[in-house]
């Protein structure tokens, strides 16, 4: 397995290691095609189905691209993503009556605040990231239940204007050339931006050092607190974007809107070659990981495997990939996983 932390790794080498993920994705595509050719599944190689795969991958991918920054910084994952998605969706629908733009801005501001809080507590006070964000997840769930008391809300029931509702519906439904959905475009923009930030900016370099060795980063004068906080803020913001898209898709504000996205995103990240030890991997790989998650779901669904068995398969894949990663790092003599 390529280790791009080693000195002198070229950008070509990095591309090759990221390309491995796309190889696996291509393999899945081939398996799907083969299954269709042998008549086991139907309707895999259609334009509509490919669009479905890409759309599903886009939602996971948007979360994963943001969360990848937390993983890259060596803080594993942000478990507060599901309720961040649910909560911001609720808020946006509730505020649609004041117009579409204000509603979205407030939703993003709330996401920003959650990210800042997570970043402060994990970065500055060094709380265990998983436990803290899990606690935040419960608290946000409590806030949702306190405010809306288990009620689901719909975009057009709070006296919000026709125009705002239409715009909100379009977050998920807008299609360019009748093909490419807005979430896909957002994902691509985020991937390009994320890859640029991670490899070409000073923040990216600081993040890499922070993820590789927090002490070394601290002693070389990097404000690790700020770097980590930025990573958590990016996660919360992308979670908010995905939350709005999911809420727009289901046209209902509900606490379960983001359920499962935390784990799907982490799985996409580790499949994409980013190690949970931090400091290794790339956003392009994460994009590949999200595509694989989308393809896997699609093929399994066409095969008639239920959602729950898919959870089991995804969990098993997650454990195996993390295990392989940890083992390969150890054989490289970098036993910090």
């Amino acid at each position: 397995m390529a280790d791009d932390r080693s000195l002198g790794s070229s950008s070509v080498g990095r591309l090759v290691s990221a390309a491995g993920v796309y190889g696996i994705a291509a393999l899945f595509l081939a398996v799907g095609a083969l299954l269709q050719a042998t008549g086991i599944i139907r309707g895999f190689l259609t334009i509509q189905n490919m669009l479905n795969i890409v759309d599903a991958a886009a939602l996971v991918g948007i979360v994963a691209v943001g969360m990848a920054f937390v993983t890259y910084s060596g803080h594993f994952a942000d478990m507060s993503v599901p309720t961040t998605m649910g909560f911001t969706g609720y808020v946006c629908i509730e505020l649609l009556r004041y117009g579409f733009i204000p509603a979205v801005i407030v939703a993003l501001a709330i996401g920003l605040l959650i990210g800042l809080m997570n970043g402060f507590v994990v970065g500055k006070l060094k709380a265990n990231p998983i436990i803290w964000t899990l606690a935040v997840n419960y608290v946000t769930m409590g806030v949702i239940r306190l405010i809306w008391v288990n009620k689901q809300i719909y975009p057009d029931m709070r006296g919000s204007g026709q125009k705002a509702v239409e715009l909100f519906d379009n977050i998920y439904r807008l299609r360019f050339f009748n093909l490419i959905g807005l979430p896909v475009v957002m994902l691509l923009v985020l991937v390009v931006a994320g890859q640029f930030v991670m490899t070409k900016t000073s923040f990216g370099v600081k993040l890499k050092l922070t993820g590789s060795s927090l002490r070394a980063a601290k002693f070389s004068g990097i404000s690790v607190e700020r770097v980590i906080t930025t990573a958590f803020v990016l996660t919360a913001l992308t979670a908010t974007i995905a939350g709005l898209a999911v809420t727009s898709l289901s046209r209902v504000g509900a606490w379960y809107n983001g359920a499962g996205y935390d784990f799907k995103a982490v799985t996409a990240i580790v499949i994409g070659g980013m190690t949970l030890a931090g400091g290794r991997g790339s956003i392009l790989g994460v994009l590949g990981g999200s595509l694989i998650i989308g393809l896997l779901n699609n093929v399994l669904t066409l095969l008639g495997v239920g959602t729950f068995s898919q959870d089991m398969i995804r969990g098993a894949i997650f454990i195996v990939v993390v295990g392989i990663n940890a083992k390969s790092l150890r054989s490289l003599g970098r036993d910090d996983a």
Partner: protein, 343 residues
Amino acid sequence: MRKLGKNSLLAFGDKYRIYILFALVFAFMSLFAPRFFNVFNITSILKVISMNACVAIGFTVVMICGQLDLSIGTVITFAGVLALGLKPALGYAGSIAVAVVAGGLVGVLNGLLVAKAKINSFIVTLGTMTVLQGAIYQFSGGNSISVSTPDAFVISDFLGKSLLPLLTPRILISLVLVLAMEAYLRRTRSGRNFYLVGGNRNTAWLAGIPTDKYTVAAFVLSGVGAAIGGVLSVLESTAATLKLGENSLMYVISATIIGGTAMSGGKGGVLRSVVAIFTLEMLYTGVILFGLGNEVKIFIAGLILAYVVLYEAYATYKHENDLGRRPELMKELEARRMAKEKA
């Protein structure tokens, strides 16, 4: 004897923090919460906590070892669903055995992945949690499982009937398990080894303790404890809902930390965790008794967990910040600066 003074009083307060907290909350609730201080209410609190008490037995050991087990909630539900779901085929003896063994196997898997594959424990258990979640829905088809045969009701009645005031057989079983585990951890050599493994893994290994074995054992205890908690709970209620273990993770983690078990390992105790669970449950019951809804209860439970994690992180942060600092030197410098400013 150390001399008495402010510091030893503080140390006393720190050591018995959870018992003092327990007494305070109990006194407060008895005085102010309506319908709190009576046998019926306290029995029902004990019944509620007897599930999480069983869970805390193993979870605390895992945390003493310096690891975390996020899969306990799903193990509870999984064991509960198995115990009732397999009952028609295997009878109670068989289904209960399968449920408890399944909990143990989950523990073995977690432990091996942590100890041998050297993956972070919360990452491993996050994975097993997802797998189990799928398995639960797969097995139950997404519905609650209930049994309504006469023998099920006989067992349910037996477990729920008060033998002595406050003590039903189910509470008694949980209590015995908790006390046995506490005695094992405190009084036996192998029990104390868990603390050594959590306190400093390398030192423990150099001292000849098979650290990997102890890590696996801790996860097995956690799996078995969670399974027993789930099984006892469904045996009494004769129904296993898929939400059975939903909030246990949140309750048990906060209680274990409040009870004084350090997340870094090497410190803590089972009895303290259980007393903390009792304390928290009194608070939650109080919330309901004061007429606030279930939503408020969940919100407060989340806040308590967040506060506890924050407090623990802040204490560590402050400790590390103050480490190696000489306050008297700072005072002297400050005094000099003041003198300079005056002059």
